[in-house]
Point group: C2
Chain length 278, copies 2
């Protein structure tokens, strides 16, 4: 359920909104290694605005078509702008990637780059100024996220636990760790070197650099764990899915997350997640 | 998708709202003769109000339990009050009741009584004054509708076309007629004599009496058609489902609906339905 003013700005391009509304749901399927099948859409609209609906439908259905995911039902009503999607997918029995499957000594990986969407939000809010090209690039991270559907399926039988990063790496990795009864070490140096941190973040201060990569949501990358002996298989899955993945940490028995900074100091993070009622 | 101020009043008892939110969806399954299996719930709430959530959950889950329909997923977010449910049901292959299956000379039936919910709305708006007992009774029609799940299943293989009456008899029968490429005669005298019109409507003026029974929504009864040779089978299905059904008209080849008044005059109705954007 996506609500204007909370999940998206009222000024958003309707085509981008249509794309993102489905993308964030396909991302949930990707995190389980599932294949998208179909979806329903319920829409509350303040008014029937044809130009808006045309753009919204285009963004929505272009992505749906790209994944062979049919719109099979739903509802339309008047009301404050609200989009509610339910997606349906399938995964072979016992092959779903689950949050509870992480094991001690597993490698921790993320796909793509992190922090771009959060930096775009900060720029929209006037909290940071970016070059036009950089702003366009991070805005694209926020408004046109790519659900990692192919990667999720390629990781079946390879990865152990997985989640998508909707609320920030620390929060969503935290869900995996909590469900699996383990903790983790994350290495900022590994993240920087591998390209797991959006390079545009380095244009901003180091404060943004770390915080947004660790706690910024809305990038819809995957975070997953896999045993060390599966490193070649992970690399092969990433190639098959044409999606970069980066090793950024290790699962530990001790609960909690320790973030190791490049300068050798460590930061004991409380795995925070976006609170919808805060 | 149910929106405050449009589908329900802000003053509604949260327990009744929880009941109705699921009831109207189970009613859609009933109209197809389907058996409820499970549902998802997405909630946008202005604030986390424990007392409200407690009442809402009780109304919702009591009805879910009564139908063995499990809550299997969903979402919660902050926003203007909005409830979005998706229900899942099953029906044996080729046995679903469909809107497009009405045939010329079919009898037209409705379940229960019509017009009560619409009269309650009018009373809430101050447009009519009712005795306390009558107000309580029609308010119950509006706030605690009974989805006709057992009847829908009992009508499989007996009825031809079916729909649930969410937007008014003329509107929802109109959907059946349009989908089936036929028209209908409705007989107000048959409706009065059989008990298809809520008896409390007769306390109001004859204007309400007819209009609310024909166009008042929110009762969530079923309207369905069946061939004349199936009258005994329809009666048996009604008994099995412990739900009254009333024969109120006949399917005709000529498109459109003619409403025959008790005094012999006829009214050519345009099958109007609730317009969410009017």
């Amino acid at each position: 359920m996506l609500v204007e003013g909370r999940h998206f700005l009222s000024t958003v391009d309707p085509q981008a909104l249509g794309h993102k509304a489905l993308a964030v749901n396909l991302s949930d399927l990707a995190a389980m290694g599932a294949e998208p099948l179909a979806f329903t859409l319920a829409l509350a609209l303040p008014r029937a605005d044809e130009a808006w609906l045309d753009g919204f439908s285009r963004g929505l259905l272009d992505l749906a078509d790209a994944h062979g995911c049919a719109l099979v039902g739903g509802d339309t009503t008047a009301g404050p702008l609200n989009l509610c999607l339910t997606v349906f997918g399938q995964v072979p029995e016992h092959q779903a990637l689950r949050r509870s499957a992480a094991c001690v000594d597993d490698d921790i990986y993320v796909s793509g780059t992190l922090g771009g969407a959060r930096l775009a939000l900060q720029a929209f809010r006037g909290g940071v100024r970016l070059e036009a090209d950089d702003f366009a690039a991070v805005r694209r991270c926020m408004e046109w996220p790519t659900p990692r559907v192919a990667l999720g399926q390629a990781l079946r039988g390879v990865a152990r636990a997985a989640a998508d990063i909707s609320d920030g790496l620390l929060g969503d990795l935290g869900h995996i760790l909590h469900a699996s009864g383990v903790g983790a070490d994350l290495h900022l140096q590994w993240m920087e070197n591998s390209g797991a941190i959006n390079p545009i973040l380095s244009c901003a201060s180091s404060h943004f650099f770390h915080e947004y990569a660790l706690t910024g949501g809305d990038d819809y990358e995957l975070v997953f764990t896999a045993p060390p002996h599966a490193r070649n298989a992970v690399a092969a899955a990433a190639r098959r899915a044409d999606t970069p993945v980066h090793r950024v940490g290790v699962v530990r028995a001790q609960p909690g997350v320790t973030v190791h900074r490049a300068d050798g100091t460590a930061w004991q993070a409380t795995a925070r997640s976006f609170d919808h009622f805060a």
